[in-house]
Amino acid sequence: MQKKGKMITDISVMIAGMAGDGVLFTGNVLAKIMKRQGWEISTYRDFPSNIRGEPTNYTVRASLKKIYGRGDDIDVFMAFDCDAILKHSRRMAEKGILICDGRDFVAPPPSKSKARTYHRFPLRKLAIGNFGKEIFKNMIALGALCYILDLDFHLLETIISDAFLKRKGKEVVRKNIQAIHLGCEQAKEIVAPEERHPLKRREDYDRQFLSGDEAIAFGALAAGCRFFAAYPICPATEIWQWLAVYLPLFNGLVVQTEDELAALNMALGASYAGARAMTSTSGPGGSLMMEGFGLAGMAEIPIVVVDVQRVGPSTGMPTKTEQGDLNQWIYGSHGDFPRIVLSPGTVEECFEFIIKAFNLAEKYQCPVILLTEQDYGQGLRSVKRFDLSKVEIERGKLLSQEELINIKDFKRYEFTPDGVSPRVLPGMKNGLHMVESNEHDERGYRDEDPEIRVRMMKKRMKKLKSASKDLIAPKIWGKRDAEIGIIGFGSTFGPIQEAITQLEKNGARAKYLQMRTLWPFPLKKAEEFVTTCKKIFIVENNFSGQLSLLLKSQVRTPFDAGNIINYSSQAFRPREISTCIQKAL
């Protein structure tokens, strides 16, 4: 719990129990109240790949300033069973608060427990006694927490009503609200006035509350995506489920395919026909898509693929976070072909980059990968309202019928200075051509002449160079003259920023290079950054240091770097990074 004077400025609440306890629901209700009371929110899902009966936990962090991750400690721990307490109480802050059923309570070693507060409620007894169902313990506990944090009960009622009324009816809403009040009354008896920590109430200013997956789906709609094909996979399915509701309302279509091979190939067919098309997946689906990925490169078909990374290899840990697919998209599929790999670091960037991705795909007629992660893919964040006036749709060298009709000898794969050839759509007059998965000539017809082969390869690969001026540049954060340099991509954005603040408090100044385009490699900026640092640390969520290997293979100036890696299936906590750096100094 960060405080300024007596006022709390940052608080992290973990809710843990078994899958089926309503952990996600309870957490989301809490997150929404705090968000509407004007707090910035970041949530973190640590769920099992199972529907019921395995331990699960959800962290809701609220702050008065913008945050991008779950932070370090658990300030308030709402535990629904004994196992949860045993497992997570070591993560509790020094002055942490535990809310649990008295029956589950396990006393921690005295050295740890001095400053902590333990609130024991008869949660199960109250739930079963009053409502006949144990599940109500989550709302009773939430009611108690709302009393402790002095949250707005009226708002709480509205949120619960919004969530349940349509789906489950009046009776369920009534019972849940009753449970909340019951929890509050219990807390009044058990919690001493000095044990209350009232949270400041601010205007719910112009903020949205959504996940990275939703931001991508919304961004895709805004970017003109009208065809989406995919196969169900965690943790990317939320993109699809959102589009499944909205695309048909915009004359678009969402198709559930038999596998990821079909998903990508169908999207490629749609794109070839002229639709802005996309598919989304995670690592295993990406592996199946490697084949179509190469086709998109060879046949120069614009396509956007979103990979919401999860833990690999193989089936791995489907609902947990990792950054292990970087190699797959930069080096994957046989042969050489141009591809663009973008890596947003925040939910805001998910929206911004997906729009850019569609434009890049059409301008450079190649596959564009949006590499995100389970962390902020499924995690909810409060973000500024998206600025729709900035959405621009650029279709590159897509010819109109009027332009095409005047062309004497149309060549779909014409050799051009920038490598990008004019594109037309089937059905257009005067544009007959061939799209080939084999090597081909300027008209698209199969050609195995070594000279043509060399020219075609050069033409296709040249597009990367042409695109390089148009890409999302890496961003440098922190003081330019700092001697410690941290490099990362994707969701490490939040933890790295906080680690820098922690380092500063200890007198170490660090700056941070956020790699926002991974491929084509932003050589100039990376080179500049590396050469201005005395110590470099590369932070990433995978075993082999995939970003580190990429940097070392691309940056010309040799450099030493410490690798800070985490492949535990958990997102970085800021202190993991700052402690590591501090030790190495």
Binding site: M266, A273, L432, M434, R446
Partner: protein, 286 residues
Amino acid sequence: MRKDKDYHLSDPTWCKGCGIYGIFAALKKTAVALDLDPEQLVIVTGIGCHGRLNNYFRSYGFHALHGRTLPVASGVKLSNPRLSVLAISGDGDAYSIGLGHFIHSLRRNINITYLVVDNRIYALTQGQTSPTSETGFVSVSTPYGSKELNLNGPRLALASGGTFIARGFSGDPAQLSTLIEKSMQHNGFALVEVVSPCVTHNKVNNYQWFKKNIYNLDDDSNYNPRDKMKAWKKFSNEKKIPLGLIYIEKRPSYEDLAFGKEVEPIVSGDLGVDAARLEKIMEKFR
């Protein structure tokens, strides 16, 4: 009216006597009969000898990955239902590497025609056993004879919810052309399997063999192609290969269900952002 030459891009170079010549001729005949505009026709082919057809037939063409003709063709058709979309595969493409797509396309019933050129061998890779090669078939990949049961595509299609299932013979381009013509007029997914000899690699299933083993259901006035059980029986007789329109059923196509009537194709829609509408949607993220 368009003529044969309007669809003839160049002279094919398949092996002399290859069955695919008959298919090429039948396709051109169909195109003339339906007066298809080459610029409104997309032919998606797979990997195999049939895949060269795009090089000889004048239309928009897409030579897809091995086994992936149907997903590509489906994406094209769904984005622009005004186009005529014809997908062509070989037996390896359709019944082996692309089999998943085959079954699900039948289920989906998108309005495309699918020609499967079945020569019972992998010809382009120099003569390996295919899923339609009979048990015991000897080839470079099964020198001691195939141990597997051969796959019956049309029967599988019937079981998977096919709404138009026909079979032609590349040695009879006239009947084949009639079948393709009907298939292109069918609302929904239409399968036309074409049994077709490979003169270079398959010395067993040659013209004489096919002629001996095929019979024509189109000649049988008592046969009712709307009777599913009868069709099942016809397909189940492994000894004799029935040709003709074997099964047809009326079922709404995917497009009928997804778009209803008179909707602008996805590709002709305006991509511009309707900001007011999107702002309203954004309100829901609270």
